[in-house]
């Protein structure tokens, strides 16, 4: 059988070159995009952005809401992923598909759905019970949570699917109930998946804008997150300022993702 030629010095095959090329093309393209944005703005715009009380408020609110909604998403994702991966029940396939609806739905439509829901008798009852979301900062967390939860569920479920259920079954024969088995056996093996799901959820929530614009509006220093700030700056023609905020968001997200990868350890390649 013919085998691909390896480079004598590096040991790389043409397939390795193809894989590396695809990665370089995509990552390189993104870097070029960011550099072009950077070249369009200047230090003055950055200074103005950092001095702006509105942007500082939006930054604080963005970090708080995205962290809270990512945490909530993980809390819901772990049991939901467990149910989808480990339990057999009627309608499991349908439930699996329903979970993905927020991923396929345009974000603006999700916001519209939420707004409509809070105009129905059930939605009004929720608001009358004291849980107010429409045009309120809590609505930001709700919109972010609904959008990012499917990403967390998918990530946790993929990890769970890779764990041999026989390990859990044997643990049950060793005297533990299913809840204790989950805590003592499954959860430690799920740690990386939970962390990855949380980070993906946080990153998507941090950059989210569409559903919030519909559900909570774009009120300065009330429901303004960084994505809203970009929209507001663009709407008044301050393009350089909008780009500076965008780059600030990229910097924060990049820092958070790199810190996560450094803390959890990106798996090293097994074979070159």
């Amino acid at each position: 059988m013919a085998t691909a030629k390896r480079n004598r010095r590096t040991g790389l095959t043409p397939f390795h070159a193809l894989a590396g090329g695809a990665l370089a093309l995509f990552a390189g393209g993104l870097v070029i995009l960011l550099v072009s944005v950077l070249s369009y703005t200047d230090l003055q715009a950055f200074r103005a952005v950092f001095r702006s009380a509105d942007v500082r408020f939006a930054l604080r609110l963005s970090l708080m809401t995205s962290t809270l909604s990512a945490a909530l998403a993980v809390v819901f994702a772990v049991p939901s992923a467990y149910a989808l991966s480990r339990m057999r029940f009627p309608g499991r396939m349908l439930a699996d598909a329903i979970v993905d609806i927020p991923i396929v739905l345009p974000p603006v439509v999700l916001g519209l759905c939420l707004l409509v829901f809070f105009r129905t008798p059930l939605g009004r009852a929720v608001e009358q019970a004291g849980f107010r979301f429409v045009y309120e900062p809590a609505g930001i967390v709700l919109a972010q949570f609904l959008t990012v939860c499917p990403y967390a569920i998918r990530t946790v479920k993929a990890t769970l699917d890779g764990i041999n259920p026989r390990v859990e079954q044997v643990a049950r024969t060793l005297g533990y109930g299913s809840g204790r088995v989950f805590i003592l056996v499954t959860l430690p093996m799920l740690k990386t998946g939970i962390l990855a799901g949380g980070v993906i959820a946080w990153a998507v929530a941090f950059g989210l804008f569409g559903p919030m614009m519909i559900l909570v509006g774009t009120t300065r220093q009330r429901t303004e997150v960084l994505a809203t700030s970009i929209y507001l700056e663009l709407s008044v023609g301050r393009i350089q300022s909008a780009l500076a905020i965008a780059l600030l968001m990229v910097g924060i997200a990049l820092g958070a993702l790199t810190a996560f990868k450094a803390l959890t350890g990106v798996p090293a390649p097994r074979e070159r």
């Binding site: 041999n164 026989r166 390990v167 079954q169 044997v170 643990a171 049950r172 024969t173 060793l174 005297g175 533990y176 109930g177 204790r180 056996v185 430690p188 093996m189």
Partner: protein, 262 residues
């Protein structure tokens, strides 16, 4: 004593029909049959990982047919061993001893010290003291087998279930493990059900054997009872002059199956 009485389980593409056998503390009981015949399903039913449609399972007189796996007092070694990957050998073997169901009598000592003593006993018994602090990923196939066996035996189970425990090891390790399994079963006197589909493995280990095919148990008895030829064949063969077997045939099993099993 483990008693399985008329257990049945029906799936769209497979059915286990009326399986019945009993295993005493002196029995090394082999479930012998081809792949897909329902051997593993029987073990899973005994372990409580599946619930039968009908029939009953009793362990030392307790009816455990509907019981949770946690309360059956079964030592189970699945085919893939299913060691907990993030725990050391010592923690894997002691895992069941920290559960409410199998917590040992501490007699005034701390639980940690009692568990440690029981685990040391197991490590000694299986000859794996030197592996105590290793993780499963750093063990060979034979070593993993011993750890899984130690984990199942540490809880002092009322019955031991072994699902093809020698399938993933080389011949030399397999032979050593077979001798060890036989020794352990005799020493501990725990009713043991062992799945295999290798004739030599079955003849070496079994005190009693059940042959199974297409979800039904075909015969139960000692290996001699199940695999020796029927009297009429023996009578005919006794009158025939001895004929030396060709070299290749000498390696074949000495008997044909009484019930045309293979």
């Amino acid at each position: 004593m483990l008693c399985v009485e008329s257990i049945s389980l029906r799936y769209p593409r497979f059915a286990l029909r009326e399986a019945t056998f009993s295993v005493s503390p002196d029995d090394y009981f082999i479930l012998y049959g081809p792949t897909g015949s329902g051997k593993t399903v029987i073990l899973e039913l005994i372990a409580g990982l599946r619930i039968p449609d009908s029939g009953s399972i009793r362990i030392n007189g307790r009816d455990v047919t509907q019981s949770d796996p946690a309360h059956r007092r079964i030592g189970y070694v699945p085919q893939d061993l299913a060691l907990i990957p993030f725990l050391s050998v010592r923690r894997n073997i002691g895992f069941g001893l920290r559960s409410p169901a199998f917590r040992p009598d501490t007699s005034g000592r701390s639980l940690t010290a009692t568990v440690r003593a029981r685990v040391d006993e197991m490590l000694e018994l299986l000859g794996i003291v030197h592996l105590a602090d290793r993780k499963p990923e750093a063990l060979s196939g034979g070593e993993k087998q011993r750890v899984a066996l130690g984990r199942a035996l540490a809880i002092r189970p009322d019955a031991l279930l072994l699902d093809e425990p020698l399938s993933a090891v080389d011949e030399e390790t397999g032979n050593a493990l077979m001798r060890e399994l036989k020794r352990l079963q005799r020493a501990l006197r725990v009713p043991t059900v062992h799945i295999c589909h290798r004739f030599t493995e079955m003849t070496f280990l079994a005190t009693r054997v059940a042959t199974i095919r297409e979800g039904a148990i075909r015969s139960v008895g000692t290996p001699d009872e199940v695999f020796s030829p029927p009297p009429v064949v023996r009578a005919v063969e006794a009158q025939r002059p001895p004929r030396p077997l060709p070299q290749e045939e000498n390696s074949l099993p000495p008997h044909r199956l009484k019930n045309d099993f293979l």
